[in-house]
Symmetry: C2
Subunit: 325 residues, 2 copies
């Protein structure tokens, strides 16, 4: 069966399991907001990473469905708390949780999401539970550290590309590493295969985040789901921004410095800054970096033992490179 069809079929199962997970849970004031967020959809990439990794490492989907649910619950924990911190009003085309309900409800929804993620993964832990849960916990620690660094960087004028990569490693890639690691571990993989799965997750995560930075400039608004140039408007220190700041001289440098000083720009200035990015060739730099990381991801996927699982990983990596949202 084609990988894209397996993805669709399995994600469908994940959706049903998510619905079942929350059905009949009380009190409504706690769980209804969680359901609201889950109903707004999402690509469910992280649960798919768990499934693909378990399969590629020689195991089966069935062994890891609860772990797959767990990482999606965890992802939703980060979304709801990040949206409060970033003051975001819209997520996946609907009001964010703290706007739809209120801030206290959103804080508590995040708290129960992270707790339920442990409840769920525990169901799939048989042998080796402590090791698996340490990996799971380490992933969450890194996400929190990454979020904290991201906030720190907003206040700093001298962030380097190396620091940026450390930050996105923690904020985005560490969770992908964790997904692939627990998939392989629960499947009972030997150490070198667990490591290869983790490295697939790492490079895929890094490519994914730089792709996200790139789509903020080159994406199509109706597909990407947010206004093009939002990162510039918010003064975010993205890969594109930091690369342009490193490479530019003269007037371009001055204009980029203005973003830092003013902590962002107006939407009407987005086109001017897009030109700076093109002029300094950072769009191409970002594309090369995405391709480089994707190749590293694929190399690691190819060392895993199961053919069908490997194909799923390869398909996913290529699908993410080609994505427009």
């Amino acid at each position: 069966m084609k990988s894209s069809r397996i993805y669709k079929r399995e994600i469908q199962k994940i959706e049903s399991k998510l619905t079942a997970f929350f059905s009949g849970k009380d009190p409504a004031s706690l769980y209804d907001p969680c359901k609201y967020l889950l109903e707004s959809g999402g690509k469910r990439i992280r649960p798919f990473l768990v499934l693909a990794s378990a399969k590629a490492a020689g195991g089966s989907f069935k062994q890891v469905y609860n772990a797959a649910l767990a990482v999606e619950l965890l992802h939703n924990f980060t979304l709801v708390h990040d949206d409060i911190m970033d003051n975001s009003d819209v997520r996946r085309g609907r009001p964010t949780l703290h706007i739809k309900y209120d801030q206290n409800t959103a804080i508590l929804a995040g708290d129960i999401f992270v707790t339920l993620s442990y409840e769920s993964i525990l169901k799939d832990c048989k042998a080796n539970a402590v090791k698996i849960l340490k990996t799971f916990t380490q992933g969450i620690i890194e996400v929190c550290e990454g979020q904290s660094l991201d906030k720190e960087f907003e206040l700093r004028d001298d962030v380097t590309i190396t620091e940026y990569k450390e930050m996105i490693y923690k904020k985005t890639a560490a969770l992908a590493v964790m997904c692939c690691s627990i998939g392989a571990q629960i499947a009972g993989a030997e150490y070198k295969h667990v490591r290869a799965a983790e490295m697939f997750g790492k490079y895929l995560g890094l490519a994914f985040q730089i792709q996200d930075d790139l789509l903020d400039i080159t994406g199509e608004e109706d597909k990407f789901g947010k206004k093009i140039g939002s990162d510039l408007v918010e003064g975010k220190k993205t890969f594109l921004f930091l690369k342009a700041f490193e490479k530019s001289r003269g007037n371009d440098k001055k204009l980029l410095l203005k973003i830092i000083k003013n902590k962002g720009i107006k939407f009407s200035d987005v086109d001017k800054y897009k030109e700076i990015y093109y002029r300094n060739n950072v769009i191409e730099d970002a594309k090369s970096e995405i391709i480089r990381y994707t190749k590293l991801a694929l190399k690691n996927a190819e060392s895993l033992p199961d053919y069908e699982g490997r194909q799923l990983m390869i398909w996913l990596a290529n699908a993410l490179i080609g994505r427009n949202k």
Copy 2:
């Protein structure tokens, strides 16, 4: 050695271990706020419950120090998020975390506290890890559900004493149940001893919360650490309030109804309401309830196998009944 001295000695160790746990952790923007909260002290009752329970069940303190740290980290997670939700400015005589730093920092501090609590307990999980972690996770789920119910009750006019007890069971007692349970489980106790330890935690937790409600009226301000009558001012549906509302007739009933309608009273009216409580004998009702629950706790403690551990539990239960803060 006297139980009170063992408590002091062990809590000293817990303090050192908490300090060591956070030393050298990066980024500072994430971990310094956590240290700030921990430095403000606290009775460390929950870690002591883990220690006493492990000992009473036949194990040793050494087996459960990391689990003891874990429940204190978890308790601090609930404090920092609750303080945001309750809009509290002061905790243990110092500005709350979201006041000292900012709200985003406080949300993230809570998030990392709960995650680190898993990191810590995992170090003490050898045999039986999945069972222990399920108990730990269930405790957190109930705390979140309890907090959500508490918020629901603020908006409702018809809360019953039965509902109130369900709420405080989840919000306060469930964590004590969990502390005692994991202490006994890690110590390798047999099922009936784990259950007895849990029941000790349950009744102690219920007594503790009603005592807290009582101290809001009968406490001494400089010792209790917050203004007497705060629960009345905030319109909280405490044991005393619900009992008075159930028992009173005529003008007293009308005045109590006013609290519900206005969601609280002015500080200048506290004395008037104190009189209503005394007139309807609810101070005595609360005291009897506290004594009843404490006796049930003690009965369960007495069924545990280790003499010294039992003495610690008995000492703690009596110390909490006699507390003024």
